[in-house]
Symmetry: C2
């Protein structure tokens, strides 16, 4: 069969990793496909200085992505620019020209995936995006093909490696969030502006894509309740451990009678669960199907080579489909005939809670807090206080029996004015279903 | 697009689970595909008594599989009979008639997968076999598509749920192997003849298939060094825990300069690894890629519905390919241009070892054992003895530094004649690379 020519637009980390694999692994790729995957064109802002791996000899090297997309020899456009500006233009132009697209762009696919898929389907081309979520974990292939016959009930994820690294460092060393973040920035694990990672927005984009694929509903990032990890302290890990739990930035999507329940938030997970064992910059996805029950997927969340594997695997699949037909003809983003349903309100969900307080010690604290909880009809499960000498900054924890989030929020708001509190109470859900 | 008609041959556990899912999940399947998957024919020995799920109304119900394969309306033959006799005939006849095949048959695919794939490729049809390994884990989709761009260096698996259930019961309750096995048989978790499970043969078939897919080499079950779990005692878990390890029936396949290193055997795994956390009847696969690094996959190993998900997901993929082209044209069993390489000899591998002895206590035991090890140039790492009152049946453990398996085997053979040994020493490798 004829070789397939790929145009790479963007040679940053992921682009570099992709080129390495296409070069070094070329013969195995050709063996698997029965034809070669060739890099026919490369676009990069710094194309003159870029040293390409041996064996990558594109006919075209350019600074203008339009040259790549317009090149008639290019059959797949590989968008590795990122962001939602020029990347959107690249993808739309490629689709308009009837060229298949492979992208690693989580923001774009989270925001406009359903719409771009409709265009791709209408154009009869393939839009592949394995690399957009959880770099090294082939979770798209799993949802799209591996367990496509199942009916997904819930999906949980640890989808931001930087947050997970920070949380597990706080956990292991008892270091404060700010210190761990500064160290992560120094090591290059966290961005200078860490907000996308530590405030949950990066994870939110990824969850939007996975939830759309898993449930066939249109999900946009703004549908997802999102809370970051800035308030998690070493105290919280001490108390969580005492309760047999750990804390992770947990992405979750559940099918309920009221619609999908979607959130990205720090939550307590039982320590003996497999999800709780996910350490450092790793990512993980837990899927619960009506028929297949629980399955779990784990791997590197990022990095040039793990993400490059996702890009190259997508290129191989799309190339095979170009030579033999069979692009998916139904958008994986919205196959539900029900149409776009509104997500369920997170606040009405019943669950167990962890409330952590930091107080200036004085008599009557528990009584005041308990009376506010009682007023909101919230049942207290346990009060936990580890030994501490610092009476001016005393942490302790109250766990709550299953309670609706809106009631807990009301109670927490009422508590905010209590003079013995050093900061507003921290309320974290306890994830008991994993 | 036109509906695709499926013929189901065999309505046992997996067939029943498959029909449930095809019936109950029909509308979501049709939404995902853009056409319906219909059960056009069913063959079962007890077809008259079989009650089919609502919505499954095959035009043909028969006791003779030939009726299904010959039915011109049937486009996919789903072989769920099992075994290597009539199942092989069914698959070969279907391929000869140009019909795609979906199978859950691990024995057949392990023994004759490469040959059947060649026939399928020549006939231009698809042969799908996700359900043949690790029922609920979509590991074929992962290897075939999700990480197809990577170059696999090693694959580890816990692939027999019954063995893993037995081992984790011994571990949790300190009960002897025979008792746990009897209980598992009573509960229906283990067969009346447990050999395929506890002697490693079932896991061996699965590893043969996964190794072929992961490395593109022809692997037959007899290539794989295989050892079962019958000799594992509660003592072994106590000692393993003391060493920070647990014991699992570990399948492993590694690429080495001498060829693939293949084994199914009980091994010590560090307790803090994710693989060590795999409990009960679950299955798991750990894949190490040159580019994507480590990924891990976990789920139910068996059961009508988890395995049914694998079958239905395969049916969906094959049906899509029938309507839109694109069956794989290169056998996933042997894409290496190198051709069929011989596996590497397990015995030459260097690794750390756990040697467990049961002795009648007397002076000089350690000295005798140590002198045999010294003679074979094997370095002792540690001697470990937990408190025990039973001097006539005293267990203890010696761990060894990295040593070649043939040297350890020689030493163990030399030890067998020592009069203080109650049974031959148990030698288990320590898997340090997970």
């Amino acid at each position: 069969m004829r070789d397939v020519n790929v145009g790479i637009v963007g040679v940053g980390n992921v682009g570099g990793g992709t080129l390495d694999i296409l070069a070094e692994n070329a013969s195995q790729i050709a063996d698997k496909l029965g034809f070669r995957l060739k890099v026919g064109a490369i676009c990069s802002r710094s194309i003159d200085e870029k040293k390409l791996p041996a064996g990558i000899e594109p006919g075209r090297r350019t600074r203008d992505w339009r040259d790549v997309v317009a090149d008639p020899s290019i059959e797949i456009v590989c968008e590795l620019v990122g962001g939602t500006g020029v990347a959107a233009e690249i993808v739309e132009t490629a689709i308009a020209q009837g060229k298949s697209v492979v992208t690693a762009n989580k923001e774009l696919m989270a925001l406009r995936g359903a719409e771009l898929w409709e265009k791709a389907t209408a154009a009869g081309i393939n839009l592949a995006m394995e690399a957009s979520v959880a770099g090294g974990i082939p979770i798209h292939a799993v949802l799209r093909e591996g367990i496509s016959g199942d009916r997904i009930e819930a999906l949980f994820g640890i989808l931001n490696g930087t947050s997970n690294y920070i949380l597990t460092e706080i956990e292991k060393h008892g270091t404060a969030f700010e210190e761990v973040l500064a160290e992560a920035q120094r090591l290059g694990y966290a961005e200078a502006d860490p907000s996308a990672d530590v405030d949950g927005f990066d994870a939110r984009s990824k969850l939007a894509i996975l939830a759309a694929l898993a449930f066939g509903e249109k999900v946009t990032p703004s549908d997802i309740y999102t809370e970051g990890i800035r308030r998690i302290t070493p105290f919280d890990f001490q108390y969580a451990h005492k309760l047999g739990h750990t804390i992770r930035l947990l992405c979750s999507a559940r099918r309920t009678a009221e619609g999908l329940l979607l959130s990205v938030r720090p939550a307590l997970l039982p320590q003996q669960t497999i999800m709780a064992g996910v350490q450092g910059a790793y990512n993980a996805v837990w899927v619960r199907g009506q028929y297949g029950a629980d399955t779990f997927y784990y791997g590197r969340g990022a990095g040039p080579h793990p993400t490059g594997v996702a890009v190259v695997s997508d290129l191989m699949r799309v190339a095979r489909e170009i030579r033999s037909g069979s692009p998916e003809r139904v958008s994986p983003f919205a196959h539900e005939t029900l149409g776009a349903r509104k997500p369920a309100p997170v606040a009405s969900q019943q669950r167990a809670w962890y409330l952590r307080f930091r107080v200036t010690d004085k008599p009557g604290i528990i009584a005041s807090l308990a009376s506010i909880l009682a007023e909101k009809k919230i049942s207290l499960d346990a009060v936990l206080q580890l030994p501490s000498d610092d009476k001016d900054n005393l942490p302790f924890v109250i766990t709550l029996e299953n309670s609706a989030e809106h009631a807990v929020r009301d109670a927490v708001a009422r508590m905010a004015s209590l003079d013995f509190l050093r900061e507003p109470p921290l309320a974290l859900p306890m994830e008991t279903s994993l």
